[in-house]
């Protein structure tokens, strides 16, 4: 079963929820935590995994054979991302703009373009106690997180409970992370900002036809806008976490909620039950 954890807004507690969820289920289920926030993976700070393997993530970029090229300019014309320019007898390629679609190579009338791999990031795998841990990391200077997110998801094991920690926002890397999930847990805070971005996130998951539910974090401040919206939009609130000094203190020391305050593990296990009731799916206990 795949459960993604997302939020429109940044800093709402996605990573704390994802890691606490994994931590709370690890004794009863086989659990995977996949950090798909590849521009700033940080679940590892809470779960402290030991990595034993690093796999490279590449996209293909064009390589031009000058002996075959007649500088006709077709490649530059067909490139939707302006990653190739042809001037006089020079072909300039811009790998950082290339999306690896292969159109230049496919449509070159002289078969002068081959595709070569360009490393854009890595996927690291290991374990944090009983939790199997996967994280993607986008390389420095690279601008395409989405292929790294897709690669992270290649490691999903549907027989386990796979918890995917997505990036904030609603753009391509987030969509890639949520897509094909059985359920999406949205995390937000009870403020006008949390509400604004939650609406965007809900639109996104509904477009992807992934059922969703809410974790409302830092309750006790703000307003009732999020709760009113959830009632109207028929989004179940599966868990509320108060704004609490103890939670903040553990957080500040890099300790996730369910580890620092074990009484919360039961709450997270109940979240899984609620998700299973909604999706009708069940993972058997270990």
């Amino acid at each position: 079963m795949i459960i993604s954890v997302a939020s429109g807004k940044g800093g709402t507690g996605k990573t704390m929820v994802a890691t606490s969820f994994a931590f709370s289920l690890k004794n009863d289920f086989q659990v995977q935590l996949l950090d798909a926030d590849v521009e700033e993976p940080n679940s590892h700070i809470f779960l402290k995994p030991v990595f034993d393997k690093t796999d490279e993530v590449s996209v293909t970029v064009p390589s031009v054979n000058k002996d075959r090229c007649n500088y006709c300019g077709t490649c530059a014309e067909v490139c939707a991302f302006n990653a190739i320019a042809v001037v006089k007898d020079v072909v300039l390629t811009f790998p950082e703009l290339c999306h690896g679609c292969g159109a230049c190579s496919y449509l070159c009338p002289r078969q002068a373009i081959s595709e070569i791999p360009n490393r854009i990031g890595v996927v690291e795998t290991g374990s944090a106690g009983k939790i199997s841990f996967v994280q993607g990391k986008l390389g420095i200077g690279q601008t395409m997180p989405t292929p790294v997110v897709r690669k992270v998801k290649d490691y999903v094991n549907r027989k386990k409970i796979a918890i995917i920690d997505a990036a904030p926002g609603t753009s391509c890397p987030v969509i890639a992370a949520i897509k094909d999930s059985d359920f999406c847990l949205l995390v937000t805070e009870p403020t006008p900002f949390g509400l604004n971005d939650l609406k965007l996130a809900v639109e996104t998951v509904r477009q992807l036809e992934v059922p969703c539910g809410l974790v409302l974090n830092r309750t006790g401040v703000g307003d009732s806008g999020v709760e009113e919206y959830c009632r109207k939009a028929n989004i179940p609130i599966l868990l509320t976490i108060p704004l609490d000094l103890n939670i903040a203190r553990f957080y500040s020391e890099g300790i996730t909620l369910a580890e620092g305050m074990p009484e919360w593990q039961k709450e997270f296990r109940e979240v899984l039950q609620k998700i299973q009731e909604i999706t009708g799916e069940r993972n058997s206990s270990t």
Partner: protein
């Protein structure tokens, strides 16, 4: 001999558009006769690589120099490969820019004068990574 000037409207009295890759249009002018034609800039609305697309288009116009406000590294690379001189920092009207070019007031810039995505407005990061 022709030169290209980034412009906001199809007239010699248009202001020089400060952006190269995302300007509205170019005026391709003969500085001696002041005859000119106007071409729309298809790169203006490019999702990414606007400077490259625009530079690629300019290289097909047979100009010896480009006058604009700012030119980023990718556009600079393409124009340089085509042997086109790049003059940045221009302001005022297109007519004044052409006059200044004739009188030798400008010197070509050997390096891009702004970083990539400079002319995108609305904050960095827009359009990066894009739709894949």
């Amino acid at each position: 001999m022709k030169i290209a000037i980034s412009a906001s409207s199809p007239s010699l009295d248009s202001e020089v558009n400060p952006r190269f890759g995302r300007c509205k249009m170019f005026i391709i002018a003969n500085p001696e006769s002041m005859d000119f034609e106007t071409i729309d800039n298809a790169g203006e609305s490019a999702g990414g690589g606007a400077g490259i697309a625009t530079a690629q288009m300019i290289t097909q116009k047979g100009v010896e120099a480009v006058i604009t406000g700012n030119c980023g590294p990718n556009a600079h690379k393409v124009l340089t490969a085509a042997g086109i001189k790049i003059i940045t920092g221009a302001n005022g009207t297109v007519r004044e820019a052409i006059e200044d070019y004739k009188s030798g007031k400008f010197s070509a810039s050997d390096e891009p004068n702004v970083s990539d995505h400079f002319g995108m407005g609305g904050g960095r990061g827009h359009g990066k990574g894009g739709a894949i």
